[in-house]
Structures are given as C-alpha cells and as structure tokens.
Symmetry: C2
Subunit: 378 residues, 2 copies
C-alpha cells in the first residue's frame, strides 16, 4: 500500500495509499510544483495513513492548516470488511455528512485507512529564517501579532522555546546556539514565499518594527539553505535533548493563548509546593516548555531523576485537570493512544465523550479495531 494513485496537477490534489512515506510523497509532488501540506520531524519515516489517523499537526500548521481541512477523501476498510469509499478529489463538497472526518484522528479505532486524497500546497520558491532573543513570554506573543502584520501571508512557522531548552540542546546534543547571547526566550520565525527579494524586505521591516518597539533583545537572520537546516535541526532536537538530560515526562497540550505560559508557572509552583522541584537535589531537575505559538500547541517537559513514584503521582492527573480547567486539550497533535484516553474527561464533557462512544459502537459494534485504546478507555 505505498503507491501514488493519481495527481491533479492543475489544482494540486494527490491520491496516494496509506503506506506512502511522507517525505517520499513530498519529493514526488515537487515535480508538479507542490509540497505536502504537513511536515513533521518524523517525515522520513511516518506514513500518510498514520498522519491522517493521528490528525498530525506539525511545524507549519500555522501556514497550511489541519488534516481536517486538507484531506479531501479517504478509502477506509470498515470493521465488517466493507470498503467505505470517499476517495473524492474535490475541494468543495456539500453533499451529505462529511463522514471521512470521523476517521481523521481516530487512530484506527473505526476502520483502517488504506488510501488518502489530499490537497497540496504550492511549492515555495524562497525561504528564510530569523531567530529572535526575547525577555518575556508576552513579548513572544507581541512579536507574533506583529509578524502576522508585517510578514502576513509569508509566515510559515513561529516556534518558541525558553532559555533552559536552549541550554539543554547545547549541552546534550552538542549544537551551537543560534544566538551568541543568552535570553529568557527564543523564537524561530520562518517565511516561505515566491520572491526572495520581497520576502527579505518584509523580514527587514518586521525586524525593524520589533526592534523599534523594544520587543526583542537580539535577532539573527539565516538565508542559506545549510544555515536554515542547522537552525531547524537545533529546534527539532529539542525533545531528544530533553530525553537525554534525565527521565522525561513529556506533555502535548493546546491551550488558549492567555493560559499558555501559566501552565509552566503552575507546574513549577505545584511541584515546588510538594518539595519535588526548586532546590539542587530535588527529584525534578527541570520543567520547561517549547512549542508552536500560532496554533496554541505547547510541549511541557518535566525532567526527573528517576521515573515513577511521587513525581508521577504529583503530575498525573493533576496536570490534565489543570489543562482541562483552562479550556485546553489534553492531546494536541500526538493523539490519545493507550495512555491518554482516561484523561479525555478533563477536556471533553460527558455528552461529547458519550457521543464519541456511541459512534464507536455504531461503526465497530464488536470492538475489534485497535481495542482498548483511544476513546475505548475514556
């Protein structure tokens, strides 16, 4: 199941089987002037069917949008063996319920996705990156608002991480920091457009604006392909570096903008109040956040000296309760899997979970698809 079945080169629609590797598809469609509308750190290995079934988000969601918007059709084998064929290649379709949407993010619990029709994005002709150094989280948000104004249609990523994340990547991966000085926060802003000269001018305007407003402490631009790749490598090794730095509890949440930074403050405060964090020999060494500003998705890491015990008990379910009570999602882009179904109740109401379960019962009455996972354990 790794064949490209069809491509519409005029409007940019690909039909491919679910076993196709994302990067292979990206290379294939570039000859027609397109790119895949999703890219992840795992793109060399992850497959299209998995991207759909986990509702993959990724680094450039801000620009290219969600699987729910980009997937145009699916071929799904239902639990009873029938094939549900919605493999249309049409962008506009208002004929009946959009049932393919149920399978996006269902993690295989309703059927097996065997082929996907997906809308492609035009291949950019120009790309550049700037790394910013900032002193506060609110300055990151201000920089994002100004980027939407000055860079507008060419912004393709707006990533942030904090000082300790930067130190951890330098220490455990051996990479050089993209900025020479130390800052409380860092931002990676990437543009993708069709004219390098225009894009560079827009970036200059943006950097001048945020400098003049006192939003940043430092900024450095990267225009060469190798330099851009190096900056992205620094960013993409963040999770690995944390993993090497100790025993990592890692969380993937979405939160409304106004609560994003509070999560870090609350977690530090909670763990300190239990004497688990804050002094040199505390069971928890580090608590950090990084993430994607434009789509409200943040990754929180709690680095302990050992797994289990009081640290784990202090973290869960407390952290899911906190996220749920601040209108967040307990699974932003990595799904529920076997572990997080039981925490779904903190961010979805009984009516919503009940409706999900009734749909599971309707489509898979014998419970044979990916049993015991996802909403089955909610």
């Amino acid at each position: 199941m790794n064949k490209v079945r069809d491509i519409d080169p005029i409007v940019g629609v690909l039909v491919a089987e679910s076993g196709c590797v994302l990067e292979d598809l990206d290379n294939h469609v570039q000859q027609f002037g397109y790119i895949m509308p999703v890219d992840l750190g795992a793109q060399k290995k992850c497959m299209l069917g998995g991207n759909v079934s986990t509702n993959a988000g990724g680094l450039r969601y801000l620009r290219y949008g969600s699987m729910h918007g980009n997937v145009l059709g699916l071929e799904v084998v239902l639990p009873d063996g029938r094939v549900l064929d919605t493999l249309f290649t049409l962008k506009k379709d208002a004929s009946g319920y959009d049932i393919k949407q149920l399978f996006i993010g269902a993690e295989g619990t309703l059927g097996v996705v065997t082929a996907v029709s997906i809308s492609l994005a035009p291949s950019p002709k120009a790309s550049q990156v700037a790394v910013l150094g900032l002193s506060s989280f609110s300055q990151i948000q201000r920089a994002f608002v100004l980027a939407r104004q000055d860079l507008s249609e060419i912004v393709s990523a707006f990533e942030f991480w904090e000082k300790r994340c930067n130190e951890i990547v330098v220490e455990f991966e051996g990479y050089q920091s993209p900025l020479s000085g130390a800052h409380e926060f860092y931002v990676l802003v990437e543009t993708r457009g069709s004219c390098m000269r225009h894009d560079a001018e827009k970036m200059d305007t943006f950097l001048k604006t945020i400098r003049d407003e006192g939003v940043i402490e430092d900024a450095k631009t990267f225009n060469e392909l190798k330099a851009i790749e190096d900056v992205w490598l620094f960013r993409s090794q963040m999770a690995n570096a944390h993993n090497k730095s100790g025993c990592m509890y890692v969380y993937d949440f979405s939160l409304p903008s106004k609560y994003q930074f509070d999560l870090l403050v609350a977690t530090k405060s909670h763990m300190s109040s239990l004497n688990l964090y804050g002094s040199e020999d505390s069971p928890v060494k580090d608590i950090t956040i990084f993430g994607h500003i434009g789509d409200q998705n943040i990754h929180l890491q709690v680095i302990a000296r050992s797994f289990g015990g009081t640290v784990e008990q202090a973290l869960e379910p407390w952290i899911y309760e906190w996220v749920g009570s601040h209108n967040g999602s307990v699974a932003a882009e990595h799904g529920l899997g076997a572990h997080k179904g039981k925490f779904l109740k903190y961010s979805k109401s009984p009516t919503v979970i009940g409706t999900m379960k009734s749909i599971k019962q309707l489509l898979d009455p014998r419970g044979v698809m990916n049993p015991g996972k996802h909403v089955s354990c909610a």
Copy 2:
C-alpha cells in the same frame, strides 16, 4: 443569538453565536487585524450558523480553505435537548473523534448549531484585481497554474466565466464589461497581500508570463477600491443576470479539473440531440458555465423559455448521472436541501449513504430535525 462571545486577538479565534450576520462579524474582527475566513455574495444577510450548517464555500475558498478546516468548535443543541459543547478555541486538537465535523454541512438535520468557534485570517493590507480575456478553457487552466507559481501565496480568488455569461450581465444588468473586446473566456484573478508594491510587481510578472506564453488575448488591472468593487459586482451579478434572462435551471457542481469543461460540452450536446437546444427557437436559449477554478466548483445554467416539461425531463436526472459518473459532487457549496437528496446516489456509494443514514438514526432517532430533507430523502 447574535452575540460575539469571545475573541483571542493573538492567534485570531472568534467565538460567536449562530445568528450573527457574516458581514457584521467581518467588520467586528477587523479592529483586531483579522477578517472572517469565508465570504459570499450573501454576506450582508447570511448568518454564521447557516454558513456552518451549509458548509459554505464562497469566493475565496482557494485562499482561506473550508469550514471543516476553519471551524474549531461548535455548540449544538441535540434532538433530545442536550447541549453538545465542543466550543473549543484550539487549532490543534487530537483528543478523540472530531464529532463537530458531522454538523458542518448537515443543514440542521442532526442538531441546531447555536454558537461557533472559528479561526480568523489576517486582514490584508493590499488588494488588486486583474481581468483576463482568453480563447479557450485549457488556457484558463494554464493561467491558473502560472498564477500559483508567480502569485503563489497572494492569490485570493481565481474566477472564470464564458463569453455568453459576460454578454448576459451586460444585457440584463446594464453593467459595462471589464474588458473592451469580446473573448471566449474571462478570468478574474485577485491578490491579497501585505505590501501593495510587492503585490503589484508580482502581478506584473504574472501578466508578462502569460502574455509571453500566449495564454491570454487581453488583460486589465484594477487597483483602486471602487474599480475593484465594480469588477466584483460584475462577477457577483452573474446568477441574477441569468435569472433575468429567462427561466433558469442552475446547478452547483464540483468536478475534477479534467472534466470541468466537458460538462458544458456534454450538456449542449445532450440537449441538442433531443432538439431542445441549438436553433433560434429552441426551448433552451442558453447553456453557460462560470465558477471558481482553484476549487473545481462550477455553476452551470440552462436558460429555458419556460419551466418544466421536456426541458426539465431532459435535464434531470441525466445531469446528475453525468456528474456522478465523472467523479463529481452533485452539491458543491449550496447543499442538498429538499431537492437534491434524491440525487446523492449518483455521487456517493450505497455504503457511504448507508453510513450517513445510520449517523442520522443514531443522533436523531425520532427524525425531528429538518425532516424529509438532506440525506433523509437520499
């Protein structure tokens, strides 16, 4: 139910009640630097709940995408009176089945949408329009491919209509044609960006490319607000003008790019073979198409001298069969309503329709929501 409940000005998310008028919301969010991600000819009257329930497409789908991508959450009153609250404001959410999607395009048959959370688009700082005159439909498609290359991220609409449509608007609305000469086809290409100087330069490059390649016969650009509005008015009066020109049968289809023009050819040929079209006193006066190239959505008009009789019998269900057999959708952006449910079978398989009906039965077992419409008559 016409209140704005909340706005996240940093990432651009609006929560509003379903009775809010689209244009009012657009005006409201502009103070925060955003626009609504959908715009329709009916924006002065249509309401947000209706936009969601009909899965509205509109003029700039090409740029801003679908309701399925932009709607982040819904508040829905279920047939049994319970409130299904998925009114989240989060762009990334992979926690369970995305059940709100079922209500997008359901035309009120599964529940009543009372509030909507929707992702906004950054407000453009610059806009311009060019009207092209072309000699063939394949030249329109070639111009679209080149626009995706040269105008890329700033293209916001790519509309086409044919010679007879142009004549009908001139004759029945009294508007002046945007081009002085007559052409087999016309295209309206609009850009929206953040720098007028850059956008004008990109438009010049695009026009030079399509002139040099011999893709167009004529082109005229419009930069002043009033002139842009006039061109859009010409385009938006197309359906009205056709309606004034005779007894209009109007169809709203999506078709793969390669079959779009064939629909017109096939319809003319079919009606001619039945002696209903082609001579001066034929029962059918005109058969025309116009539409949105980038999203495969075309509107076909058959203008008869009187309603009913042999013309209607010749058209339906023949035209739905033709669209279904060419992998098209029988309802692109105007939904199924009371009339088109029975034609759903031409573009969706029995398994797909059966699954839709089982979902209707699950959520509305007593059949009290918008009875006899939509999939209920499929």
